[in-house]
C-alpha cells in the first residue's frame, strides 16, 4: 500500500526529475545507505568481510564500469581484467613513487591512468563493433598482462615479479597493508562504491548517457541526429575504464595486498565481470549490484554446502560452479535478457498495483 506514486506530489522540476520518483524507493535507498554505513561496520566479522562483502563491493565498481560500456554503449569488452591490472599497477607505482600522497587520491589517479589506457584500446571501436571489437579488447588483455609480467619497471624490479602494497593510513587509520582492519577496508570500499554508483547513475541520466544509449541502439541513426560517435565511444571507454581501474586499484590496494598480473588479473576475471553484468542486467545500475552479489555469493554458498556440508572435494565444487555459471548465463539470456534487474522491475510493477491485479 505504501509503494506507489499516488499522493506523492511533486512541486518543483527538481523533485520531478529526481532519481527515485517513488517515496518507497527513496526510503529504501536511504535505509540501505544507513545500514551500510552505520550498522554493517559494527557487526561485520572478518570472515564474511573478506569472503563476501569486500569482494562484492569491489566487483560492483568493476561491473558498473563494464555495464556502462556494454549495457549503455553496446561495446563488448573482454579486457576488463587487464584494465583492472592497469589500475593496480598504477596504484603500486604511484604509492611507491610518491609515499606522501593521499591514498584515496592515489586510487582516483589510478582510475585516471586506466581511463587513458582504455581510450587508447578503445580507438578501434570507431571502426569496428560487435565481436570484432571483442577480439580487439582481447589484445588489450593479453598484451597488458604480458607487459606487466615482463617489464621490470612496473614491479620495481622485485625479484618475485609481484607487487606488494605498502602500508598507508589516513586520519591515523590504517587503510592498506596487512595491518588494516577489515572495517577500515570495508568503509573505504563502501565510500568508493557509493560515490561511483551515484556518478554512474547520474551520468547515464544525463546528456552523456543519452548519447551512449543512442549509439547502442543504432549507431548510424545516432550519427545522423548529431551524436558525435568519436566523443561518445571514446568517452564511454574512458569512463568505463576509470571505474574498472579504480576497482583494480582497490582490489590490489586494500583487498589482495599483493598481486601478480598473470594470476590475479587473468582472462577468467574478465569473464567473471562480464557474467556479473549479463546476469545482473545489461544497462542497469541496480543490475551491476545484483550480478556482483550473486556471483560473489554463489561460490561461497556452494563451497559451504558441498565442501563443508557434504564433504565433497573442493575441486569438484569448483567445476560444478563453473558449470552452473555457464548454464545460468544461457538461461538468463534465453529467459530474461535484461537480467535480474528486470525481474526486480517486474516485481515493482506488481507491487505498485498490489493488492489489485490491474
Amino acid at each position: 500500500m505504501l509503494y506507489r506514486e499516488a499522493g506523492d506530489f511533486k512541486t518543483s522540476y527538481a523533485s520531478d526529475n529526481q532519481t527515485f520518483p517513488i517515496r518507497g524507493d527513496r526510503m529504501a535507498y536511504w535505509a540501505v545507505l544507513a545500514v551500510a554505513f552505520l550498522v554493517v561496520p559494527f557487526v561485520l566479522g572478518d570472515y564474511w568481510a573478506n569472503a563476501v562483502v569486500i569482494p562484492f563491493l569491489i566487483y560492483v565498481i568493476a561491473a558498473l564500469g563494464l555495464n556502462l560500456l556494454i549495457g549503455y554503449t553496446g561495446l563488448l569488452s573482454l579486457g576488463t581484467a587487464a584494465f583492472m591490472a592497469v589500475g593496480a599497477y598504477a596504484t603500486y607505482k604511484l604509492t611507491t613513487a610518491f609515499p606522501g600522497m593521499n591514498i584515496y587520491l592515489v586510487f582516483l589517479l589510478s582510475g585516471v591512468v586506466t581511463a587513458a589506457v582504455g581510450v587508447l584500446f578503445g580507438l578501434p571501436s570507431l571502426k569496428i563493433k560487435g565481436f570484432y571489437l571483442a577480439v580487439a579488447t582481447l589484445a588489450a588483455q593479453f598484451f597488458l598482462i604480458w607487459l606487466f609480467t615482463r617489464v621490470e619497471w612496473f614491479y620495481n624490479h622485485s625479484p618475485t615479479g609481484q607487487i606488494a602494497m605498502p602500508e598507508r593510513s589516513m586520519f591515523g587509520i590504517t587503510i592498506t597493508g596487512a595491518a588494516a582492519s577489515s572495517t577500515a577496508v570495508y568503509m573505504t570500499c563502501l565510500i568508493f562504491v557509493v560515490v561511483m554508483a551515484w556518478l554512474a547513475r547520474n551520468l547515464t541520466r544525463g546528456t552523456l548517457g543519452r548519447t551512449w544509449m543512442a549509439i547502442r541502439d543504432m549507431d548510424i541513426a545516432a550519427e545522423i541526429i548529431g551524436v558525435n560517435p568519436l566523443i561518445a565511444k571514446l568517452s564511454a571507454f574512458a569512463v568505463s575504464s576509470f571505474f574498472v581501474g579504480v576497482a583494480g586499484a582497490l582490489m590490489f590496494g586494500v583487498y589482495l595486498g599483493a598481486a601478480e598480473a598473470g594470476e590475479a588479473f587473468s582472462i577468467n576475471k574478465s569473464f567473471l565481470v562480464l557474467f556479473m553484468v549479463i546476469i545482473g542486467g545489461l544497462g542497469s545500475i541496480l543490475g551491476s549490484f545484483l550480478g556482483a552479489a550473486f556471483l560473489v555469493v554463489l561460490p561461497v554458498l556452494l563451497k559451504l554446502l558441498l565442501v563443508d556440508g557434504f564433504g565433497w572435494p573442493a575441486d569438484l565444487a569448483r567445476h560444478l560452479e563453473v558449470m552452473i555459471i555457464g548454464a545460468l548465463i544461457i538461461v538468463v539470456l534465453i529467459a530474461e535478457p535484461h537480467g535480474m534487474a528486470a525481474l526486480w522491475r517486474t516485481m515493482k510493477e506488481k507491487l505498485r498495483l498490489w493488492p489489485f491485479p490491474h
Binding site: 578501434p124 565481436f131 577480439v135 615482463r150 617489464v151 569438484l316 555457464g326 548454464a327 548465463i329
Partner: protein
C-alpha cells in the same frame, strides 16, 4: 646460408605446424559462423571436451565417477577395459553429434532472431558449461592421449635438411601428420559442401537464411549438421593438441588464438581460416625469434591479438572475408 637464416627458417617451419592447429580450430568457427551467423566462442572448449571424451572412452573411465563417488560414497573409476582408437573415435563423434543436437534443442532454438552479440555471449556461457562438464565427467587432471600417431622428431626431415644445409631441422612427426590430416579434412569439407545435397543446402543457408527456408530447407537440421561438423573438426583439433601436450585446460586457451586467426582470414572464408592460421603461426614464431633479444620472450601470448588489432583498423573484413556492408 648463415646460421640466423637457418634458425629463422626452422622457427618459421615450427610456426607453420602450430599454425595448422590454429587453423583447425578456426575452421570450426568459420563453419558455424557461415551457417548460422553465430560466433561460437565455445569452439576451443569443444575441442577440449572432445579430447577429454576420447581419452575417457579409450581408457574406459566411468563418466561422472568423481561426482558419483563424492555423492554416494562409492569408489568407482573405470569399467576395467580399454577401447582401441578405431572404436573410440566413432563413439566420440557420436557424443559430439549428440551435443550438437542438444545445443540446438536447448540453446539455439530459443535464441533465434536475437542480436548476434547476445548469441555470442550465450556461447561464452556454453564454453563455461562445457568446461565444467568436461572436468566433472572425466576429471581435471592432465591426461595423455595416444591414438597411434607417431611422436618425436622426424628423422627424415632432419637428415634431409642436414644434407641440404648442413643443419638438421627439428620437426615433430606429429606436426607432419597434423598437416596431412588438416589437408584431408579441408578436402573432405570442400567435397561435402560442393557435391552433396546436404552440402548444397548448407551453402544455401549460409547465403541467405530466409531464401533457404522458403525453398524448404530445414534450418534446424542444418544447424545440427553444422554444429556436428564443427564438433568433429573440434575433435580432430583436440586429438592433435592432445597428442602433442596432453589433454588439459590450456588447450581451450590456446584455442582463443583462433579469434585473431579469423580476423586475419575473414569470418566467412574456409581458405581464410587455413591461411590465417598459418600466417599467425609463422608470424608469432618469427616475431618471437627476432624480438626476443630486444623486448624479451613469450610474445606469442599477445602477438596474434595485436596483429589482429592492426588488421582490424585497416581491413576489418580480413584477407578473404566478404566486405562488411552496413545497411540501415
Amino acid at each position: 646460408m648463415s646460421d640466423t637464416v637457418l634458425f629463422a627458417l626452422e622457427a618459421a617451419l615450427n610456426g607453420l605446424t602450430v599454425g595448422i592447429m590454429y587453423s583447425l580450430v578456426a575452421l570450426g568457427f568459420v563453419l558455424i559462423f557461415k551457417a548460422s551467423g553465430i560466433f561460437n566462442f565455445a569452439q576451443g572448449v569443444m575441442a577440449l571436451f572432445a579430447a577429454l571424451t576420447l581419452v575417457g572412452i579409450q581408457t574406459g573411465q566411468v563418466p561422472f565417477s568423481h561426482l558419483i563417488n563424492a555423492a554416494l560414497g562409492t569408489n568407482i573409476h573405470d569399467f576395467g577395459f580399454t577401447l582401441p582408437a578405431i572404436l573410440s573415435i566413432p563413439l566420440t563423434v557420436g557424443v559430439m553429434v549428440l551435443m550438437a543436437l542438444l545445443i540446438e534443442r536447448l540453446v539455439l532454438k530459443h535464441l533465434v532472431n536475437q542480436e548476434p552479440i547476445i548469441l555470442f555471449m550465450a556461447t561464452i556461457g556454453l564454453a563455461y558449461f562445457l568446461e565444467g562438464l568436461g572436468d566433472i565427467m572425466w576429471g581435471a587432471e592432465v591426461k595423455p592421449l595416444d591414438v597411434g600417431i607417431p611422436q618425436g622428431m622426424s628423422s627424415t626431415v632432419d637428415e634431409f635438411t642436414y644434407n641440404l644445409f648442413g643443419y638438421g631441422f627439428y620437426i615433430d612427426v606429429l606436426s607432419l601428420w597434423a598437416l596431412g590430416i588438416a589437408a584431408v579434412l579441408v578436402t573432405a569439407l570442400v567435397v561435402f559442401s560442393q557435391y552433396t545435397k546436404q552440402g548444397r543446402a548448407l551453402r544455401a543457408v549460409a547465403d541467405d537464411h530466409q531464401a533457404a527456408l522458403s525453398v524448404g530447407i530445414s534450418l534446424r537440421f542444418i544447424w545440427v549438421l553444422t554444429w556436428s561438423i564443427a564438433g568433429i573438426v573440434a575433435l580432430v583439433a583436440g586429438i592433435m593438441w592432445g597428442s602433442k601436450s596432453g589433454v588439459q585446460f590450456s588447450l581451450s586457451l590456446i584455442a582463443l588464438k583462433a579469434l585473431p586467426v579469423l580476423i586475419l582470414g575473414g569470418f566467412t572464408s574456409i581458405p581464410g581460416a587455413i591461411v590465417g592460421g598459418l600466417l599467425i603461426g609463422v608470424g608469432e614464431k618469427l616475431f618471437d625469434f627476432f624480438m626476443q633479444p630486444i623486448i624479451g620472450g613469450a610474445t606469442e601470448n599477445w602477438f596474434a591479438y595485436m596483429l589482429a588489432l592492426v588488421f582490424l583498423l585497416f581491413r576489418p573484413q580480413g584477407l578473404f572475408g566478404e566486405k562488411i556492408i552496413e545497411r540501415v
